[in-house]
């Protein structure tokens, strides 16, 4: 097997004839933090939706450990260990924080089909172990005090933490973060940076779309820059930062529409 855990090769995605992603390729190494930047509307979130199975790209391959996962059902992709957060937070708003995080334990839970009706000793053990894991994650993300509170009632910054805790509860190999710092204040962003580093230290590979340049440049080991659905530059942060093509794309894009 190659050193790359995820290989995206020549992927294109169209929406009614409009090109959303145009012949995009990238390779993510195991354990890496991989940044994806680009102006609004460049197709970054569309790319994440292609990887996680929400969209099926028309052309190209998405190889996960060498196997093509293009067009697989999203739940199957999650089962493979690819978990994500959303740019527009998608929590189960009426449900408590603990229950939200518990959804991440779904694929790890070993309950059998009849346990929905009848409890068994194995079910009791499984249930307890999973709730304990939820407790650990609430500790890690400083969410313990909100355990019983409906996720939708909490502030934006806390909701972002719940979403990451939920994804991490599934013990992902690849964690996909779609603008994790959006809407956070300076302190929260700083905390988030440290949290992402800790997640990397656990051995999780991370792909991240982010507009906060300071954060994405300090965290990422490798960056791809996308504009109008196509790759315009890639490399280590220091290279990308000074690439004239990138600078031009950003200066020329002030009036772009909001991303999705």
């Amino acid at each position: 097997m190659s050193e790359y855990i995820l290989e995206i090769s020549h992927v294109s995605k169209y929406f009614q004839g409009l090109v959303a992603i145009n012949d995009l390729s990238m390779k993510v190494k195991k354990g890496q933090i991989y940044g994806i930047i680009g102006p609004n509307g460049a197709g970054k979130t569309t790319l994440f939706n292609c990887i996680t199975g929400i969209y099926r790209p028309e052309i190209g391959q998405i190889l996960w450990k060498g196997k093509d996962i293009k067009g697989s059902n999203p739940y199957k992709i999650a089962e493979l260990g690819i978990l994500r957060t959303f740019q527009t937070i998608r929590l189960f708003a009426e449900m408590s924080v603990a229950e939200n995080i518990m959804s991440g334990r779904h694929i790890k839970s070993k309950q059998r089909w009849y346990n929905g009706v009848i409890p068994t000793p194995a079910y009791v053990r499984d249930e307890k172990a999973n709730w304990e894991k939820v407790g650990e994650l609430m500790d890690f993300f400083n969410l313990t005090e909100y355990a019983t509170i409906p996720a939708g009632d909490l502030s934006y910054g806390i909701q972002r933490r719940i979403e990451m805790a939920r994804a991490l509860a599934a013990e992902p190999e690849l964690l996909i973060l779609d603008e994790p710092a959006a809407g956070l204040n300076e302190n929260e962003t700083l905390e988030l940076t440290q949290t992402i580093r800790k997640i990397q230290e656990m051995g999780v590979t991370i792909m991240m779309i982010e507009h906060d340049m300071e954060m994405v440049m300090s965290l990422s080991e490798y960056i791809t820059v996308i504009n109008f659905g196509a790759k315009i530059s890639e490399g280590v942060p220091s290279f990308v930062q000074d690439d004239p093509v990138v600078i031009e794309a950003y200066i020329g894009s002030d009036e772009e529409d909001e991303d999705e």
Binding site: T52, G53, I54, N73, P74, Y75, A78, E79, L83, R84, F86, R90, L91, F92, A93, E94, M95, S96, A98, E99, M102, S103, G104, R105, H106, I107, S109, Q111, W113, N115, G116, V117, I118, P119, Y123, E127, K128, W131, V134, G135, M138, T144, E145, Y146, A147, T148, I149, P150, R166, A167, A170
Partner: protein, 316 residues
């Protein structure tokens, strides 16, 4: 430790347990039907309140259970006891075969499709298919439950059988809510895309809800047919389906006390005000509208946050 809800539940259980001792036979029958309808409403709630699937054909599964018992007993002479398992399994099988091809449909489309199934079901019954269903008049002379020479034939027996059935149903619902299956249904209900992205197979769990709901409704149907010793198509038509759908929304989706209150409000209250004849339905129409405006989540809404106590320790 006892909280308020469990105290109310125990008080209600005791009241329902002794109910046959201080009512006449007419009210006993109302009580029995209330129990049976509660079971059907709870099973509707698995599909509608938990999985969030707009299913308006639930009377069909209720009717399938009732007719399975009736046909096997009246036409084939099987004892009632022997019809229980088929009365549960047939609706489950039909739910799987009919719903699997349409489960991907979005809410409003699926709603229309389930109404369609219910209408076809009534047509089949009324046309006396294979000479088994008795046509528009239905089937009569359904036997009572007999175990080892003992006949459970009185109204009081019926009441307690329905009481046990409701107990079993509540036991199942409680287990469902505390398992990954019940939770998966909620996640799908609240945000399907987020649920999928957490590895939840939406199709599987929606079908699971349908099949489980159909099986429980079938058990209630079997009980219903024995209680009245007769079945006829109009007890299982779309109007009945609408009633079960409404019970869940008026009472409180996914809330066990809510659904029981809903059944009481939609079924028992009209019986109490019989002297007003059809005028009472005007009041009920208005009450339904007001509930949806004033309490859109139902009379007794569901409360989330049922998590183990050790996770609540840090909550301020």
């Amino acid at each position: 430790m006892m909280n308020k809800t469990s105290l109310i539940a125990i008080a209600l259980l005791v009241f329902m347990g002794f109910f046959p001792l201080f009512v006449d036979s007419a009210w006993l029958a109302v009580g029995t039907t209330f129990l049976v309808f509660s079971v059907v409403a709870l099973s509707q709630d698995i599909i509608l309140g938990r999985a969030g699937v707009f299913h308006m054909g639930h009377a069909m599964f209720f009717g399938l259970g009732a007719y399975t018992t009736a046909i096997l007993n009246v036409n084939f002479g099987l004892p009632i006891l022997a019809t229980w398992a088929p009365a549960v399994l047939v609706p489950m099988l039909v739910a799987f075969v009919m719903v699997a091809p349409i489960i991907h449909l979005r809410g409003d489309y699926l709603l229309v499709a389930t109404i369609g199934f219910n209408i076809i079901f009534i047509q089949v019954l009324e046309n006396d298919i294979f000479g088994l269903t008795g046509g528009p008049n239905g089937l009569f002379g359904i036997d009572v439950v007999r175990v080892l020479g003992f006949d459970f034939s009185s109204q009081t027996h019926m009441y307690y059988m329905a009481f046990i059935l409701l107990g079993i149903t509540l036991f199942i619902m409680r287990n469902l809510d505390k398992s990954k299956f019940g939770r998966a249904m909620f996640y799908i209900h609240k945000d399907e895309i987020a649920a999928q992205s957490m590895g939840i197979n939406v199709r599987y769990f929606k079908l699971y809800a349908f099949i489980l709901g159909a099986g429980i409704a079938g058990a209630a149907g079997s009980m219903f047919s024995v209680q009245y010793s007769a079945v006829s198509p109009e007890a299982f038509n779309v109007t009945q389906s609408i009633m079960f759908f409404t019970i869940v929304l008026v009472g409180g989706s996914a809330s066990l006390p809510g659904v029981l209150i809903g059944t009481f409000v939609m079924f028992v209250l009209p019986e109490m005000f019989r002297e007003f004849e059809t005028a009472r339905y005007l009041v009920f129409g208005v009450a339904m509208i007001l509930t949806m405006i004033l309490r859109p989540r139902g009379i007794w809404p569901v409360r989330f946050g049922n998590i183990p106590d050790f996770l609540k320790k840090g909550v301020k």
